[in-house]
Amino acid sequence: MLWIDQVINGLAIGNIYALIALGFTLIFGVANLINFAHGSVFMIGAYVGWVLAVFLGWPFLALLPVVMLATGLLGIVIERYALRPLASAPPIAGLLSTIAIAIILDRSAELIFQPETQLFPSLLPYFTIPLGGITITSLDVIVAAVGIACATTLYLFLRFHRFGWAIRATAQDRVAAAQMGVDVNLVNTVTFGIGSALGGVAGILIGQYFASISPAMGFQFGLKGFAAAIVGGLGHLPGAIVGGLILGVVEAVGSHTFSTDYRNLFSFLLLIIVLLVRPGGLFGRATVFQGSTATAAFFSTSAPVRLPRWLVAAVLAGAVLLPLAVSNTYILRVLATGFIFAILAVSLNLVAGFAGQISLGHAAFYGIGAYAVALLMVNQDLPFWVALPAAAVITVAIGIALAAPALSLSGHYVAIATLSLGEIVNLLILNLELTRGPLGVRGIPGVEVFGYTLQGPRDYYWLSLAALTLTTVVAVALARSHLGRSFRAIREDEVAAAAYGVRPAHYKNLAFGIAAVLAAVAGGLFATLTTSIFPSSFVTAESILVLTMVVLGGMGNIAGSIIGALVLIILPEALRDVSLLGRSLADFRLLFYGILLLLLIRFRPQGLLGSS
């Protein structure tokens, strides 16, 4: 009986996931785009409803259409100004653009509405219904009814309405639809409008369901809705509902059987298993696998800026000598952190810029490396110079074991799979006894060099600079070798590369392997610099930050990645002292990252230094 109770619990929360998944899957089906901003649109919908209910006292039925209109329009604006200009670019451009919008919306909501959780007063009839050993509420019924009603209406619209046909035709073959006289741009606009309006409905219902809202809810529920849509099959409406329900039940039954500690782990494991076993999802078609990779062509439209040798030598010499002139340890620490992130950015660039695989889980490699170095030094008393190579081996072994299956996927699916892997690794670090869970690893000893123990930012400045120099030499050599050419061949056209005897899977694995080694080095340096590490340093937001650095510098441009990393680490620190409207500009730094990413994708996709 208890099992049945838990299944009911799972169905109740699954309903919620399904509601978010609906809008998500509709947009994917038509625009062939993973809309990472959907969760944020959903959150904005919740806040619009909240403002109307709390400050203007509107009843539910009055505010519902307004919320739908507001989020629908928000979706249209996003489509029109952030996505349509990228229509001819490869899918990665749109994906990054939606990530940027998600950051902008989330941070704006945080600034406007404050980050704390607010009460969403009850607007709907509330009563409880005993069911088995537990109870469901009227809200469970309403959420389910709205979900099914939305899916049915949409289905009928797509099946029987002329414009519905146009949407389906566009979803099937955009070019052919355009040829037949369908205004595909209008179709896209309308789809975004409908999908986002659905997100708004989900927003107020979920605000009602939990009687509370916060700016963070967008990311949190967005991720679950996204998982539900993929489990059901991207682009498949009933699939989204079934996917949501399955996800909910897996979480509830998994939490019951094992422990709530692993709840999110179950979701992401389910996601990965579905991706590997049935990548089209339970109901989706398998045509999602295209030969071309996500980043091709788009990022190689410009001639990269070539830095003259003398300039590189001068900058390097200046960097080496800098600590002799600067005694401020704060500046040196910020720069050392910048160098560590530059290593990470170069490492991600090998994967994203050269081999064309968009990884949203790079923090996983970085985290495994940091924890391996820290634990080997603290538990086994190994010196850094033994722990670091060992950590590199461990990172490559774990990283490749996890990532290899994901690399048989292509396009969007690499991004989804790496995002899930990043989450899984972080959840493992948070839950394992070995990694000391949330308590983190503390008391990591200093690095010894010829009997001298490094201490303080100045020593680590030189160590990280040396590591960065070495990383750059390796990366440049790699880019110029036949390996680099093979990577680029895969990036440009996987099918053509395969036809010429370059085995994409092998080379992708190799790129991830080399990137994993470099990320492990960065992790090891970070661990010894900060002397304590915690799971919160290796989250998806960190992966996105590193990806922003790569895009900022220019995909495939090694010097660009270094500059991108230094800019994004140094600038927020420099902004601390600048204030605007009584707040330090540093408070707006994440908003700034979002805007920067959005503008770069739109106006300078090749980044600061151009792509190669």
Partner: protein
């Protein structure tokens, strides 16, 4: 095309709506107003209060001057610089905001009353987003600033610990308002770790609170079987470890112990599981936003198992969010503004008056940290080392969260008061 054009118009409309939404909330009482000019690094010292500050109640000698001239304020002379760090933006920003408001309240009062020997105290704030890497950068920034004499912060033990070794090495005292990590003041996170003698915490350590709560549950309430739910972070782990160990030592049984990720919204699976295990009592170590949702869902499931909480929940917003579902819940607190604690009552009144929001546990700890720090400043030669020594010598200082005496480990042991939620209000709990 006409449709597209109208859509374009409508899109402008959407933007307008958001602006309106933003404006609509500003004048209403339930939402906190933007606080009057934070003491930013570049502006005049906090000694020049802004016009929004409540001047009537404390009647300063001089009228609040214009924003530029610190000379008009009571405390003149070279300012004493104290650092404050915490999450001022990001998901934990509400806690950093509490810190910032409480410390500026204490600082403005001090400066109006003449500062430290006629010199005003200036607070330099830095935002760490609760991110370890940024906290470490801030640590280095503060430590390398020769003018900075001491630091208050940060919010979580994890972020504070990332900066602590830097403060220790630089020999600048750090006073964390809310760090309850068992080995917060020791290196390496081990009981026998080398002491960091420049690092202080104003929060009762978990090693004190856990056994205290366990004894209350087992002895006072007479409950022998407990289910424990805890927040999946360093604080939650320490809280449940200490509690469970003590509860078992007393002879009780822990029938379930599960960690919940921050921002968990669906508690029904674990509550259903607990319902089936039939414990006598549920012990929770959660933050108020999560605990409120939990309380609601427990009520929905018709659960009547008593709930005892750790001392993190004292916050009016908890009651607002729980909407009556938390009735009966028991919690210990060191901060409870009531007739029994006049100091806390006075602080809560001033805080509400100035910021139009109820002071909570976190704000009170930050306020006390500022008071303890100022007290130490007065007893020191205004050097980092002498401030550390003065802090370490703090004995019997009465703050809003209790009597503060730093022990050899630079930790405190303040008395708890048991309170209960009744009719959606916090009231003293009387032992039945």
């Amino acid at each position: 095309m006409a449709l597209l054009r109208s859509l374009r118009l409508l899109s402008v409309g959407t933007l307008l709506m958001f602006v309106l939404a933003a404006c609509a909330q500003a004048p209403t009482p339930t939402v906190k107003p933007v606080e009057p000019a934070k003491p930013a690094a570049t502006t005049a010292p906090a000694a020049a209060p802004t016009t929004a500050a409540p001047v009537a109640t404390t009647a300063p000698a001089a009228k609040p001057a214009a924003t530029t001239a610190p000379a008009a304020a009571p405390a003149a002379g070279k300012e004493i610089v104290i650092g404050l760090f915490g999450p001022m933006s990001g998901n934990s920003a509400q806690y950093g905001k509490n810190f910032s408001q409480a410390v500026s309240l204490a600082t403005d009062d001090l400066n109006k009353a003449g500062g430290i020997g006629g010199r005003p105290v200036k607070i330099v704030e830095a935002d760490d987003r609760n991110d370890n890497k940024e906290a470490a950068n801030i640590g280095e920034r503060f430590a390398s600033d020769a003018n900075m004499l001491a630091v208050i912060g940060g919010f979580s033990s994890a972020a504070s610990l990332s900066a602590a070794p830097i403060f220790q090495k630089a020999g600048i005292p750090q006073l964390c308002p809310t760090c309850s990590h068992p080995q917060f003041t020791r290196e390496g996170g081990k009981d026998d770790g080398k002491p960091m003698d420049f690092v202080f915490s104003l929060s009762n350590p978990q090693a004190l609170e856990g056994p205290f709560n366990a004894k209350f549950t087992f002895n006072t309430l007479g409950k022998k079987k407990v289910a424990v739910l805890w927040r999946k972070d360093d604080w939650g782990v320490a809280a449940k470890d200490q509690y469970e160990k003590a509860f078992k030592d007393l002879g009780g049984t822990v029938v379930l112990s599960e960690g919940l990720a921050d921002d968990t919204k669906d508690f029904k699976p674990v509550l259903t599981k607990i319902k089936d295990l039939k414990p006598d009592v549920i012990y929770i170590a959660l933050f108020y936003t999560d605990a409120a949702v939990m309380a609601q869902q427990a009520k929905q499931l018709g659960m009547d198992i008593p709930i005892v909480s750790s001392g993190s929940l004292y916050n009016i917003q908890f009651l607002t969010l729980a909407q009556g579902a938390a009735d009966g819940m028991l919690l210990p607190t060191t901060f409870f503004p009531s007739e029994g604690n006049k100091l806390a009552l006075e602080f809560a009144r001033k805080y509400k008056e100035r910021f139009n929001v109820e002071a909570d546990n976190f704000a009170a700890h930050a306020y006390d940290s500022a008071l303890v720090m100022f007290d130490a400043l007065k007893r020191s030669d205004l050097t980092r080392k002498s401030i550390r020594d003065a802090l370490a010598a703090t004995k019997g200082f009465v703050g809003t969260t209790g009597v503060i005496t730093f022990d050899a480990d630079r930790r405190v042991a303040k008395d708890f008061t048991w309170i209960q939620v009744k009719n959606n209000e916090f009231v003293y709990f009387k032992t039945p």
